[in-house]
Amino acid sequence: MKQALLSICAAALGLAAAGSASAATTLETVKARGKLVCGVSLATPGFAAPDDKGRMQGFDADICRSIAAAVFGDGDKVEFVPTNINTRFQALQSGEIDVLSRQTTHTFSRDASLGLDFGPTVFYDGQGLMVPKSLGVSSAKELTEAAICTLPGTTTAQNISDFFRAINGKFELVVFESPDENRAAFYSGRCEAITSDRSDLASIRAVANNPADYIVLPETISKEPLAPAFRQNDSQWGDIVSWSVWMLMAAEEKGITQANVDEKLKSEDPDVQRMLGATEELGKMLGLDNKWGYNVIKSVGNYGEVFERNVGEGTKLGLTRGPNALWNAGGLIYSPPIR
């Protein structure tokens, strides 16, 4: 009994200590640890999923690598922590992870009430619906009275409820905790349609026996800007996350790629010189190495390369750039000037 009391006492003290240990900035913590701890999805092909060699691959994983490259000059100094959709914010709040790069939608209430801030949008997504071609449906509005499968996470359940309420239609919602059960129920015909972010639908379609049998309906029923998140009240760390992402976008705009970044070091373009750290000392202002921009591009390439490698038309997901094209190519991807 006495020992039990002692251990409870120790646990309580440990808890109190954990509460006050947040004095160090995130950058200091990350540097002292020697690696970045990045929260990603459990297994979402194209965004974060281990390949056959066990290396984490995907769009979200590459965002983590770019931040690690900015801090350490080495994109592989990352520990990927798969986070559950329900506890991802708690993992960030508690300091278990340094940054959350997990197809997370930037919304007002998350920004305002969860003690975290969002970086720049890395992927403009929207909720869509996928149906078998054999159903003969060409618009989501024709889906009244249908059963729709979804995951409990995010705001999908609310968006789809709002959509059908707006057109005054009834539907049956079937909610699964596990993505595998969700897919299985859809493929077996338990539900007529499955709803999720369009990027996620592409990922679900990619693993179907015959992907050509399914179509994603044209409606986008919600705006889902996916962005990395970090704890609030740490502007320095927020700046590092944001500018690592913007560096990827600026690099695409300037035509700097993973392959030609060494050549570009000799570029005459003053913008490129500043970005790669050939002139001026921008990196120091962030508390980073002056070659941080060079390191980011050297380790993952530019935004376009990250997109095409993980989710682009050449991959199983087969997504077009759409709104994720550069601003000067008709898209929304726009980096503030790096100067």
């Binding site: 409870i8 309580a12 699964f176 129920a185 338990r190 007529e192 009240n233």
Partner: protein, 382 residues
């Protein structure tokens, strides 16, 4: 200072210190957590319960619309949890009683079959069985477009079983009153007839009379055209059947899985309870000329019941808590609804506190009920 050497005083003193210490630790944890949350600017409190939920719950034991509050959504989750665990406990107990008795059968085939049944169900995690039953239902049964038409108005597909729903248009209250009154009368008659039989030693037709008392008033009301029922037959809609009563595969798979798991546990408890009754009871019953079946029903089972009740309480608590596995196969129980709420509000601590509180309160209620029943049937020493 003599009271310091008083054993009773010291016992109380230590207990009060222990309770105080636990309370202090609890309070420290709570205040640290809420302090940290406030410091990180994370919303706290239970205000979110009154906000509109904004999502639909298809399977709900009480009426629910997307415009209702989050609090009501959680209530729907509680109702769904209670519904499925209660039905699973009832079906599981009936099945388990049969299997437990079969385990002791003199017929070797029956006894071995019961043994295999129990061991198969007890030794594989329930979650795997739930996946199995659910996969079987949605993979083996045809999609709703090719639903099996079993009887007029009865359809079976991988979207569940649809049967015609009876909507009572008129005389519903009268019918209900007749049934309740009939049940009360039947109970009274049965008690009176048993007393009479014990007193006179002669068998009477108490059971039959009680059954008549239960059914005749309702039947008379029906024949007198006091009740009008409108049958709502399911019809083929654009994608699925509309109207009628839907029994969804998620519910069936969960009920089936839970009930089977209960039945295996109950079977073992019943077997152990029966074997614990002294062999002399069987022999005495045989000496009185009772058949084996009657000896079991009238002599052994009532005595076994006293041993069975306490472990049975555990089984019921387990089924109630296991119902939270519903989340794996898409049945909207308390945990699933709470998860959706958690995702929309981000207030995980409060939501988890609510569902832990609900499980705790309902589990304690089950324990109290079973303890009361246990005290009721326990052997009273005179």
């Amino acid at each position: 200072m003599a009271f310091l050497h008083d054993m009773r005083f010291r016992a109380y003193f230590y207990q009060i210190v222990a309770i105080g210490f636990v309370a202090l630790v609890g309070w420290t944890m709570f205040s640290t957590a809420s302090g940290n949350l406030a410091k990180q600017n994370i919303a706290t409190g239970f205000d979110f319960l009154t906000r509109p939920a904004g999502f639909v719950i298809t399977e709900s034991a009480i009426a629910f619309e997307a415009t209702d509050t989050v609090g009501r959504a959680i209530l729907v989750g509680i109702a769904n949890t209670v519904k499925v665990s209660l039905l699973a406990a009832i079906f599981g107990t009936m099945l388990g009683l049969g299997v437990g008795i079969a385990r002791l059968s003199h017929n070797p085939l029956l006894a071995r079959l019961a043994l295999v049944y129990v061991e198969l169900l007890r030794n594989v995690p329930l979650l795997l069985y739930l996946f199995l039953w659910y996969s079987l239902i949605i993979l083996i049964l045809p999609p709703v477009k090719q639903a099996l038409h079993l009887l007029p108005g009865v359809y079976l597909s991988n979207s569940g079983l649809v049967v015609p729903a009876a909507l009572v248009e008129r005389g519903g209250i009268a019918l209900f009153a007749c049934l309740v009154g009939g049940a009360a009368a039947a109970l009274a008659i049965r008690i009176a007839s048993t007393r009479r039989r014990v007193a006179t030693g002669q068998s009477n037709h108490g059971g039959l009379i009680a059954l008549a008392a239960l059914l005749v008033p309702a039947l008379l009301l029906w024949l007198a055209n006091g009740v009008a029922v409108n049958w709502d037959f399911p019809t083929a809609g654009k994608f699925r059947l509309t109207g009628g009563l839907h029994v969804r595969p998620e519910f069936v798979a969960l009920l089936f899985g839970l009930a089977l798991s209960v039945s295996a546990n109950v079977a073992e408890i019943v077997r152990a309870g029966i074997q614990a009754v002294n062999k002399g009871q069987w022999e005495a019953s045989a000496a009185l000329g009772l058949s084996r079946g009657k000896a079991m029903r009238l002599v052994v089972l009532p005595q076994a019941l006293r041993i069975i009740i306490p472990p049975l309480t555990n089984t019921y608590l387990t089924v109630f808590k296991n119902s939270s596995l519903a989340i794996a196969i898409g049945y909207p129980d308390l945990v699933m609804v709470s998860n959706t709420v958690m995702n929309q509000t981000g207030q995980a601590i409060e939501t988890i506190a609510i569902f832990m509180g609900v499980y705790l309160a309902l589990s304690i209620a089950i324990s109290l009920l079973m303890n009361w029943y246990n005290a009721h049937v326990a052997l009273r020493e005179r």
